[in-house]
Amino acid sequence: MASVAASLSSRSAKQKAEVARNYQKDGKVGEGAYAVVYSGIQLSTKRKVAIKKIKLGQFRDGLDMSAIREVKTLQELRHPNVVELVEVFYQKTNLNLVLEFLESDLEMVIKDKSIVFMPGDVKHWMLMTLRGLDHCHRNWILHRDMKPNNLLIGHDGQLKIADFGLARDFGDRGRQLTSQVVTRWYRAPELLFGAREYGYGVDIWAVGCIFAELLLRNPYLPGNSDMDQINIMFQALGTPTEADWPGLSTLPNFMQYRQYPKTPLRLLFTAAGADTLELLESMLIYDPNKRISAREALLHPYFFNKPRPTKLENLPKPARETEQAVLKRKAAELGELTNAPKKR
């Protein structure tokens, strides 16, 4: 035909079996709503990979939406700061996604209190996060679940955005989106007020919360219910008015709330420089239209002023855990998952 840009798959069944044989599954490293994650090896390259085995056929509604979203978006994205989808293969009735393997994540780093963060460390992590996020946004993809736990860190220090189970494209204006996204602590105000139309601002707000968490070494806005989340947010950043945020009172779940004054960020973030606070503040602007974009954030003076971002190889990593400790922690996390604030 006229052009054969990407021809349809014509692999034989035998070749497909070989693909499956190229991977060796090792231990289980986690389990989510629709998948079990194993660590494994790509035998042809000896490369360590994560294999996400998707449970098929157990659901009344066929394949889970999040699996489709994840594959669909990751097939489009290729960036050093976005986790790479290496391959997809079938084995019996299981669908397997082969992803890059990264041993830790930003949450583990933040929680490891034996590490002291230097301002340059935080700067480099923010830089990598924003670069990855900018790549998503430039490809019209919203991540919708940005949190430290989803920012994986490789042995070389490289940070990569992972878990695209809630991601979707947002180019189409006027299409209604669900506001039930993003883990509560990182959920933007427009989502808390039930907005059905939103954009990259929701990811930026979450990155702002992550930025604050890196500075504080504690979650910045840890609400324990949706109501409490609004309360904590208003206490920290002041109650927004129609003047701050035109259109605020027309949001579906808007309610009048007691007026908290705005506390200047520098009272809480005592050690942070002026440029740091200015960037943080522009990510945590109530009106999503005034909030900074990933692209603009990358051009912020914060990234050009001293101190320079710490070199990749010098970034702190959590103490290497023993296999047993990993299993123990994962088990604890699994237990936590059922109680912890969770999207949906």
Partner: protein, 271 residues
């Protein structure tokens, strides 16, 4: 293949080999028989989508997935009804407008009965045997589609591009051209043009065809399609393919929808 897929602003296309030796033809179907079956499947998808109130993008994606699937698998092994259901189910998820299984099964069942000119008054008993069987078939079909297409479910559509072309050519306010061109895009889903050509070429072709039929002259010096990177040969080819749809009415009541109906039908056709 999933492993090689890059930023997909383009659709996966067929090779000449794939187009000339389809799995169904290798399995004893004639070209005409295969065409009819494909058209029926697409008709089923489009009609079901309208009844389910899905957006046109979901129907378009579903039809393209359906067409792609039967270049990887034979109509002797997979029923048109099941793969149509699976395509709608999957496309609705891909396009972020998931539909309920119960509605899907009932709508498809209703349409299949209409195709066969059977009475259609009763919806299927919920949790009944027939309902259960169809639901199962849809889930399996969805999995088969994903499997055969190597998870390549990304589909680029020409609708937006066509609207842009209409604007460029100052045709948006014309009384018939935009509607007609849009209609050709919808009908074209029933042919193989979406897996033989990229969306911009298809968009050029339907505008060319609609303008030609409305007797509206468009710039030819230089030819406008060349400015939009399409060759006249491709444009004419696509238009020709789409137009052939209207010269033959589909013998829809005789075509097999379920797998057990395929063999008897092939035998009866052979006579």
């Amino acid at each position: 293949m999933a492993a090689e897929s890059k930023l997909s602003l383009q659709n996966a296309l067929l090779t000449l080999e794939q187009l000339q030796h389809t799995p169904s033809m290798q399995d004893g179907f004639t070209e005409q028989q295969e065409d009819d079956m494909r058209q029926m499947g697409c008709h089923l998808i489009q009609s079901a989508g309208i009844l389910l109130k899905l957006p046109q993008v979901a129907m378009a994606t579903a039809q393209i997935l359906f067409q792609r699937f039967f270049y990887q698998a034979s109509l002797r092994k997979f029923a048109v009804r099941d793969i149509s259901m699976g395509s709608i189910f999957l496309a609705a998820k891909v396009e972020e407008c998931p539909c309920r299984m119960r509605d899907l099964v009932n709508v498809v069942d209703y349409l299949c009965k209409t195709f066969k000119r059977l009475p259609t008054i009763e919806p299927l008993a919920l949790y009944g045997h027939e309902f259960y069987e169809m639901k199962n078939a849809a889930v399996i079909a969805e999995m088969q589609i994903l499997k055969k297409l190597g998870f390549n479910v990304h589909v680029q559509l020409p609708y937006g591009i066509m609207v842009n072309y209409l604007k460029v050519l100052n045709l948006t306010d014309h009384p018939t051209i935009p509607q007609r061109a849009w209609g050709y895009l919808n009908d074209g889903l029933r042919t193989n043009v979406y897996i033989c050509y990229q969306p911009p070429t298809i968009a050029c072709s339907v505008v060319w065809l609609a303008a030609r039929e409305a007797g509206v002259p468009l710039p030819t010096n230089p030819p406008w399609w060349e400015v939009l990177d399409a060759s006249l040969e491709d444009v004419e080819n696509i238009a020709g393919h789409i137009k052939t749809l209207y010269y033959r009415s589909l013998p829809i009541s005789t075509l097999p929808l379920r797998i057990e109906q395929v063999e008897p039908w092939l035998v009866s056709q052979g006579q």
